[in-house]
Amino acid sequence: MRTFYLILTKHKDIFALIISIVLSLIMLSNGESDNLRLLRSKANRILTRIYTPITWIRTMSLIEEEASLLREKNLQLSFQLESMKHLFDENIRLKQLLNFKRESKLNIYPARVSNMGASPHLSSSLSIDIGSNLGVSINDPVMTPSGIIGKTVIVGKQESIVQLINDVNFRLSVRIKPSGSTGILRWLDKDLYLIREVQKNSNVEVGNQVITSGFSDIFPSDLPVGEVIKISDERGAFQKSVIVKINENIGSIMNLFVIVDN
């Protein structure tokens, strides 16, 4: 017995290893026993509580990741929505153009703006995608359903350049309804236009409609142009100055019509 005890104390590390290996193997083979399951479930309960802060940190990091994904998705959907809004507006505009063409008695051709220039400022000319192949010639009136916006100045085979109404050299003979006063319209500033040579005694009021007079060789009569927003009646002058706001937003024109053989 003493010898065994001496051997045991001398080689206690080997005995400890053997015992631990045997116990480990027993545990491995009985891993599914009820007692072990009960023990593990109790330990699990305690350790899960200890692990709560880490779970919280992980959840927070996941939330951050999820928020980032949602932000990205939100941005994509915003772009999609903007695109759909744009298509909706374009659809309305094209429908208006179709109606205008159906109702108009003029010989007109629809055109699409192909180039508005690279200038950061509003250009006073633009390119359209039709030309002489469709019968377009120089000085053909160009308009939208809202009214006159310019005339062709250079015509190629498949494209033309339009001088816009906001060009400083552009002049348009107009009539103010219902008074019937006539004058020459020219660009003033931004979307404002000035009509000079209006008789001083003519009865012009704010809100009156401005149309083409028909005195021009280029523009047919009674085409819409804009609306009177201000009247300047200077003392000592023989004529009135009328400020007009045109109906079309020049900077956002995408589709227009060219009147040929008017």
Binding site: D13, L39, R40, A43, L47, I54
Partner: protein
């Protein structure tokens, strides 16, 4: 060995492993800080205490929710503790190359037992994948062990 701080440190390492190793997980692999501690423990206190510490902490590890086989950790850690204990005070007797190679082999052996028991099916089906699993987990822990050499070199606890 009466120093209670060492056993508290063992508990601390266990919680460190339990709470933080998950944050260092790369794909399937996480560092095993416990085997690093058991290696140091065995080198410092010898085989007997290495086996005891390995068995005790192995039990704690297998009680955690993520453990798959109950008994695998006491087995591998106690073997590692035993083997590392045999290196106690051998630093001056062996050449540094042999000494460092032996403890690296002990760590590799720990992981090969662990990987074999845990991935027995993989061993039968795809040996290459099995070796890859073993080697990856071994290298990942060895990486931390090599970092440890900078702060707590093994030769220091060997009184070298």
């Amino acid at each position: 060995m009466k120093d209670i701080k060492i056993w508290f440190l063992l508990i601390f390492i266990f919680f460190f492993q339990y709470l933080l190793s998950d944050l260092l997980t790369i794909r399937y692999y996480r560092p095993d800080f416990i085997v690093i501690y058991i290696l140091y423990f065995g080198l410092y206190f010898g085989s007997y205490y290495g086996v005891l510490a390995g068995f005790f902490i192995g039990l704690l590890v297998d009680l955690t929710p993520m453990a798959s086989y109950f008994g695998i950790s006491p087995l591998t850690y106690s073997i590692t503790g035993y083997l590392s204990g045999h290196l106690q005070n051998k630093y001056n007797r062996l050449s540094p190359f042999i000494f460092h190679s032996i403890w690296i082999i002990i760590i590799a052996f720990h992981f090969i037992i662990f990987t074999y028991i845990k991935y027995q099916l993989l061993f039968e089906i795809d040996k290459l994948q099995f070796i890859f699993r073993w080697f990856s987990s071994f290298i990942y822990t060895l990486f931390f062990l090599l970092i440890m050499q900078y702060f707590f070199p093994i030769r220091r606890i060997q009184n070298a």
